[in-house]
């Protein structure tokens, strides 16, 4: 029943390796967290098993909240692997780099709405980058890689989540990072409502001031 056939390495990420495989006639992705030999065995086991069990739960809850995520088929705690639906599409990282201004802004608004839905439902993604979003063939945006996510409704956690999104945009899409983030926030506002969203925006500013060597701290 839990046999997964013909595994082919799709991507060797830092945290896990993704294999493309066949599972009862379906095309699936097997995400395996291989042991890291640089860290102690106990710590390694703790991190891998924690992330393996949490990720599918969060992905399921995200789906319930109206955020497209790959369907989970199988969780194997022993192997620290998760078998899930293969979403055919393009990474948002590439999509954003290849579209014109208006379309890019619209995509960012949609991304912002998805993040808003997560936060509104007490979910934190934990690693919001444009590599972790897939635009599928029907034009739906899927969020993937919830390995660093958590259930949390605090403004602090929401702020860090969006701060990471901003940072990811700055390091990958430096030419239009500011404009993108502005539109992400626009979408975020529409879902979370002005009152809650404002609190998060203020928290982002605070997080940035907390960081080292930020100009804004001078005025604080």
């Amino acid at each position: 029943m839990d046999k997964v056939d013909s595994q082919k390495l799709l991507k060797k990420g830092a945290e896990a390796s993704l294999f493309l495989a066949d599972w009862h006639g379906r095309k699936v992705v097997v995400k395996t967290r291989l042991p890291k030999c640089y860290r102690p065995v106990e710590l390694d086991a703790k991190i891998r098993s924690y992330r393996t069990s949490h990720e599918p739960q969060l992905m399921h809850e995200a789906k319930v909240a109206g955020v497209p995520t790959p369907t989970i088929y199988l969780v194997d705690m022993k192997q620290a692997s998760v078998t899930m639906e293969f979403v055919k599409g393009k990474q948002m990282k590439q999509v954003l780099a290849g579209v014109l201004g208006k379309e890019r802004r619209e995509l960012c608004v949609r991304i912002g709405r998805l993040i808003g839905k997560l936060h509104k439902n007490g979910l934190i993604h934990g690693d919001l980058t444009t590599s972790n979003m897939i635009l599928n063939e029907e034009g739906k945006i899927f969020l993937i890689d919830f390995g660093l996510g958590e259930k949390n409704t605090e403004v602090e956690a929401r702020g860090v989540d969006l701060h990471l999104m901003k940072r990811a945009l700055q390091s990958t899409h430096y030419k239009f990072a500011e404009e993108c983030f502005k539109h992400v926030l626009k979408g975020y506002f529409t879902v979370l409502g002005a009152e809650d969203a404002e609190k998060v925006i203020e928290k982002i500013r605070e997080i940035e001031r907390r960081g080292r060597y930020i100009d804004e701290r001078k005025q604080a």
Partner: protein, 338 residues
Amino acid sequence: MKRQAKALCLGVESSADDFGVGITSFKGEILANASSCYLPEEGGIHPREAARHHAEVADEVLSEALAKAGVNPRNLELIAFSQGPGLGPCLRTGATVARALASYLDVPLVGVNHSLAHIEIGKLKTGALDPVTLYVSGGNTIVSAFEAGRYRIFGETLDIALGNCLDVFAREAELKHKQGMSLGAALEQLAADGKKLVSLPYVVKGMDVSLSGLLTAATTLLHKGECRLEDLCYSIQEHAFSMVTEVTERALAHTEKKEVLLTGGVAANKRLQYMLGSVAEEHDAKIDIVPRQFATDNGAMIAWTGVLAYTHGLVTPIEKSYVKLRWRLEKVDIPWIK
């Protein structure tokens, strides 16, 4: 007097507890790298006291560097200084020395970003060309790589720096600076005798790390007195180093670069070197570790980065040579890399 025919740059470093003067040729030969470290009787660096130390030793360190390099100050073509980021009073002391030298000798002055200098000296001394860099010191924890004209910051600490985390814990444990040995080295030595891994917070958020919770938890356990000190030293190192190694690996996987450079004061730690080397190997990348004498803050790295900037058309007029306490690495244009 053959040497003096070559173009030379003198660099002044004073961003934290070290006052350093280095002299390099425009071709990257290091002729001198003198320094004096401010050692507080107790506690961490008091900026004003450190600055006072720098002012007191400036003359001596400068003379030492010039004598070591065997150059007459009249033959210097360029003065570089650490313009930021760092502690205000300390930076200002170094900047004053540099300004005075540049106007007295009537040569150009160039302000250098301190974080950038750690990367550039690492590249110069190891031969790395386009690495993902983990820069870890008492004041910084940065994972960066070059993309489109700038060193982009992929990950960093959300609160305290790695070296700061280890130093504060070492002081709480009343470890002392031994002859020529830093607190970090004393902690590393104890950690080598650690046998049991104590569970501590492991906080990775995206590409960033948070170390303050780890420090608080380790310090609390220390004061409870239920754990062996060696085990705690071992555990704080294992947790903190695994965190920075994980984010470095993420940047490596993301950028697909083929070199990893470890630089900054904590780069001297053998355990961290091993962890990063292991990750590099897994991604078929080369690991480069900055030599010890260039790992901590030093004048040579400032001189060399000054040369790179100056030979690519950058100078800092005296009126713009004010120090920048929070000058982020990603704000600096890098015309010398294409």
